[in-house]
Symmetry: C2
Subunit: 116 residues, 2 copies
């Protein structure tokens, strides 16, 4: 998944899953992520219209998301348009899958040892 998604600078893609998890922690931020993904393109003002928070709050959230490399922005005229760059999700995803997998492995090993 997640082709390089051209256009929109990824704004310093921040290494490691840390910032991604941190970014995903907030419900509003996840909502914003979904919204900008669904629209394909959005400004802070547009997003704020559909949310119970101020534009400035949305801006801050978008900055967090940008810091995690989950969105990129591009200035067009007098507005700043954001778009999704979901690549960093992969790393976080992998982390979770690994934890689950390691656990299942352990269960398997125990089970096998028990069957013997």
């Amino acid at each position: 998944m997640t082709a390089p998604s051209p256009g929109a600078t990824p704004s310093a893609a921040a290494t490691g899953p840390d910032p991604v998890f941190a970014a995903l922690a907030d419900p509003t931020r996840r909502q914003i992520l979904q919204a900008v993904g669904g629209r394909g393109d959005a400004t802070a003002t547009e997003l704020a219209a559909d949310l119970p928070v101020s534009r400035q709050a949305v801006v801050k959230h978008l900055q967090s998301l940008a810091a995690a490399g989950l969105v990129g922005s591009e200035r067009v005229g007098r507005e700043q348009r954001y778009r999704l760059t979901p690549a960093p999700l992969d790393e976080a995803l992998r982390w979770m899958v690994d934890v689950g997998a390691a656990w299942d492995d352990r269960l398997d090993r125990l089970r096998r040892q028990f069957d013997r």
Copy 2:
């Protein structure tokens, strides 16, 4: 993945991906999660020995994780043993995959429309 994992009560599994994402936000908490998964079984005191924080801090983290349904605990003698219950990870995982997928769909649609 993530079989029901018997034993150890899931401690009120909390609905929705919210508590899971919240739980995963903290690096120490993720470390604890990995540690308890790797050992298969651990107490707060044991975990604290390998971490740069106090036992009480670990206890608090374990409570967060339990609230998210990611660990279950079981009292054995005078110690409280925690174990991984990674099932709730699935929901969070799905959320992320969905966001990524929706985005890829949009890209595809745009590309197809452009080719025409």
